[in-house]
Point group: C2
DNA sequence: CTGAAAGCGCTTACAG
DNA sequence: CTGAAAGCGCTTACAG
């Protein structure tokens, strides 16, 4: 077990060069030599040492996917797509979770290729911004995901949050809803998503000649079910509760849904609900969730493609791509 | 950027040995030397090469978590727990997903430490069995998760599926339900979970003097929401539909719930529902889901502890641990 | 306290 | 077609 090339070479009575040739299936090996080497290989159960190979070749075949939270379904579903795309190109994806902790983000991303053993990184930052990223000491290629970083000088895949939020809000307006609330606003500079979606929400209301009612826009710390449930409870406690809510992700919407139904109210009859992300949960809730559906496969495909280009030495200017999205209309707005 | 120890040494006018001493914070370095080296380090933006270190030290500080499906919430939640436990011990977890594909499982697990760069593996197999695992060519420590492998000669953490299923079924019996169905039976040898839970279901019925009605036990290919929804539709099409269903995981239960509610039936009034796994989704569904809750933190803690022991050279006989579980009683059985 | 050197296991230009 | 040797970047026993 754990034999080295050298040990195999000694056993077969050849040089390591020849063993290496056999292991790597190079053609220029005499048949009898090959057979002899192969036998030694089998007898010793030789397995090449990936670390030594990586040191020598400068490539590990590993790319890292660094995400805030793996147990948020959107990220879990995106991860699946990235793993599939990378596998097609012969790369293995390793995933790591930062919880948006700046220390962990920095640790995983800033130290770069010499500190870690990854050929490249696909990174969805929460805490780290453009300034941090621009003076990264490392030269490992990085592709950014998400809206956190506006100007990092790196390849970047995002979605048009303003436009998508506008679309969602317009859908609710089109249903004739009068008091449309929003759940998921954020002020923190490190959480751009909420702000951008609020912009879109405002834009849609204004385009329809509606006033923005400040108390209908509820901030949340996170985008989890519990936050949505709590924010919805606040909305229901208002003198004039909303008749529709745009939640900035599906988890918030599922939390809000739970609160609404537990009060005996009906969706969409009393309150219509729109989410964002199109996670599987929302397709099986009752009612199923109308939601903005970003094309996750496209995001994964582009992230991997951009990264592999960089690994192949592409020196062109950083690309910024906007992913496609659609509005999936389901029962939570149409009954 | 990407300076080597040697380049730093040249710049500082010392040997690599001394630079290494400074980088690794060894005490026996003269203050002026240290300052000079530190300056060179800073000027060149030195970052140690993790691959070279690993080759030299024989340790990467990486452990791999190999799971069937990352976008199954139970695994996503378990992953979070493993990452947290490993981080406490200074290890970084990298996660990979096999989809239960024997080829991928073999690739990731069988080739072992010389093929990959991980110090150890935590592995939840679906396809690979004890026979495969016993003659692994590699000596990388592995801790197994799940019920697939009964005898692999490796450390193993599982839960008492029969007992847990019995507990769930007994709960439904205790509610006075007369026709208790089960969703998630499996015949495939590589999918033990379903079989074991069916055993527990049978045991509980028999202990209560009830007959097992074969058509009430529905097999499913996977444990996804769609499978649960379809199986439930079949159950509702029976001449005598069930008044309770034990689903072998929460995803199946959520799928079943969707089907039940979409027919205008009520849970638990018409049909009571129990799941398994205690994923967050089930706490926010309406009704919330009664479920068997395995102690995921304990599983993660034990898995990491066992693995680290092996990394520290522990040669004792393989351990088998049963994780704790409880029945979380919620609205889907109590209204 | 510091240097010169070996070696982790591999790949590959250079000879022959 | 095959061998002897250098080198990827690091750590560390051995000297001094």
């Amino acid at each position: 077990m754990a034999a080295t090339l050298r040990q195999v070479a000694e056993r077969a009575g050849v040089s390591v060069r020849t063993v290496s040739n056999v292991v790597n299936d190079f053609p220029q090996v005499a048949p009898e030599t090959r057979a002899r080497v192969q036998q030694a290989l089998d007898e010793l159960g030789y397995q090449p040492n990936a670390v030594a190979r990586t040191l020598r070749n400068g490539r590990s075949g590993l790319i890292a996917l660094v995400l805030p939270e793996l147990d948020v379904p959107y990220f879990a579903e995106l991860t699946r797509a990235v793993i599939e795309q990378a596998a097609e190109a012969g790369y293995t994806v390793v995933v790591d979770q930062t919880d948006g902790d700046p220390v962990r983000e920095r640790e995983l991303v800033m130290r770069g290729n010499r500190a870690a053993m990854f050929d490249g990184l696909i990174f969805n930052p929460l805490a780290l911004g453009g300034a941090d990223l621009r003076n990264r000491p490392s030269s490992t290629p990085v592709v950014l995901l998400g809206e956190r970083v506006v100007e990092g000088g790196l390849d970047h895949i995002m979605i048009d949050n303003v436009g998508a939020a506008e679309l969602a809000t317009r859908h609710l307006l089109g249903l004739g809803r009068q008091r449309i609330a929003a759940i998921g606003d954020q002020f923190d500079e490190t959480r751009q998503t909420g702000q951008l979606r609020t912009q879109g929400y405002h834009a849609a209301l204004q385009a329809a000649g509606r006033e923005v009612v400040p108390e209908l826009v509820r901030p949340t710390e996170f985008f989890h079910r519990a936050d949505g449930a709590a924010a919805m409870a606040d909305l229901l406690a208002l003198p004039q509760p909303p008749d529709a809510v745009f939640c900035y992700n599906d988890l918030l919407a599922l939390g809000a849904l739970r609160t609404i139904l537990s009060r005996g109210l009906r969706v969409p009859d009393d309150i219509a609900l729109v989410g964002f992300d199109d996670i599987e949960d929302g397709r099986y809730s009752t009612p199923s969730l109308t939601t903005v559906s970003p094309d996750k496969t496209q995001i994964a495909k582009n992230a991997v493609r951009l990264l592999l280009n960089r690994l192949d030495g592409d020196q062109s200017a950083p690309t910024r791509l906007s992913a496609d999205y659609t509005l999936e209309i389901r029962e939570s707005t149409t009954g």
